[in-house]
Symmetry: C2
Subunit: 267 residues, 2 copies
């Protein structure tokens, strides 16, 4: 049975809580909750089996999206019909649709459960949430098995990551590791081939490589690349580039790497 309330004040504690979850990765981790905004993304979350803890909607949104608000209301534990002026406090967009959920962060998947025949992207200290979201979206579209994230990566449950991910972050297996070198060791013990993507001429070209089942490519921080700790555990590979020796944007590089990892299967 859901609890239903009407919120009119921007100072309402429920709104303050949601705003804090939207703004702070630490709050999300402490409470095990994150914010999902917009009709499509909320429905993606629901259909992906995430638990919808609270639903906030404006009266106008209920009129405009009756089916979605109905489905979300049936699933949510707490329902808050929220005045537009109050809703703007929790919205991350200039013109909000007026639908927002708090969802439970799913339990951490363990790298021990990785598929030894899968194809993975290993992300070390990716700092831009839009890059992380775009990588997840590309990974899902191309059919990657999942993403392995180092401890220093930005939060996949931030509003910016989720927006760029277009729902992919709900559906794609995410392995949030606490110890990245140990996670890489675990993958290697499973027989998964590990590669480090480097902007280095002397590294093996990805076009000369055969990415079989059971492979993983590591992509590093936007400014600083991969750490030596990671590189030492992987075979260095590179994206050969005919143009200027400028590096690619991390999400564009990841798109090309994932494409090559799966290219033979896409025919």
């Amino acid at each position: 049975m859901s609890r239903f309330s009407v919120l009119t004040s921007r100072d309402n504690p429920q709104l303050k809580h949601a705003a804090k979850l939207a703004a702070s990765s630490r709050s999300r981790k402490e409470d095990g909750l994150f914010v999902v905004e917009g009709v499509r993304l909320c429905m993606d979350a629901l259909r992906s089996g995430l638990s919808v803890v609270s639903l906030f909607y404006t009266p106008a949104a209920k009129e405009r999206y009756p089916e979605a608000v109905g489905e979300l209301s049936a699933a949510a534990g707490e329902i808050y019909e929220t005045a537009p002026a109050a809703f703007s406090k929790i919205s991350d967009t200039a013109t909000p649709q007026g639908v927002l959920c708090l969802c439970g962060i799913p339990p951490r998947a363990a790298v021990e459960e990785l598929d030894a025949a899968g194809r993975y992207l290993l992300l070390e200290q990716i700092s831009d949430p839009a890059n992380l979201g775009t990588m997840a979206r590309t990974a899902e579209a191309l059919g990657l098995s999942g993403l392995v994230l180092s401890p220093g990566c930005c939060d996949p449950y931030s509003p910016k990551s989720l927006r760029a991910g277009m729902g992919a972050l709900f559906r794609l297996p995410l392995y949030l590791t606490r110890d990245f070198p140990e996670a890489l060791n675990c993958l290697r013990e499973k027989g998964i081939q590990l590669y480090a993507a480097l902007p280095r001429q002397d590294a093996r070209k990805i076009t000369e490589l055969h990415f079989g089942p059971g492979c993983a490519v590591a992509v590093g921080n936007e400014g600083n690349g991969l750490t030596e700790d990671t590189i030492s555990r992987c075979q260095p590979v590179t994206i050969p580039m005919g143009g200027r020796a400028e590096s690619l944007n991390a999400a564009a590089a990841a798109a090309i790497l994932m494409w090559e990892m799966l290219r033979e299967n896409q025919g």
Copy 2:
């Protein structure tokens, strides 16, 4: 001989003018000027041969980046040493480096001058400046010959496009067309093979195709894709995807398309 002034007030007309150029594509077109912010991007603009009309810098930036400010000062027609509080009026970033130039928009390149043996990306109504900038960056890194932009594309000289482009928009040939169907006709008459990237199963897979010299692939608007007018002039092609039938982000799709266009050359 450069003119030198010290600006202290946020209401200074030169600052107002720069802020207007940063905010408005129409102002940029009317005045033939655009804003370049940050030490690296300003130096990229200078080294790419763009005309540096005005330079704004804070005293702290002059101390921190003496060489860059010196080189830019030597090139600029007007130099404004600007108080930090006033500089924040023209800056697009939360923590500005304190260096900003107004540069002249280079003359439009005509599609008639396209290289018949080149490889081009045709962009129709791309609306996200970060996507446009990222595409330019990828194009330059991989060695594409240039970008052809439809009239409805976002402005490549906006601060957001330039930031994502990391200087590539200064160096890569850009063909800003006034009539896109006519431009496609012109390319076809040159013997360039035209392809339209579509999320359609029945289109030819890019993995089955040979992209020879003289080819161009059209990528459409993030939400609505390509227009019928464009599709009718091109051979439909598609990126085969093993995952969910979700579409890729436009910049990720473009990265994979450009990679395939040039893949045989990268070996």
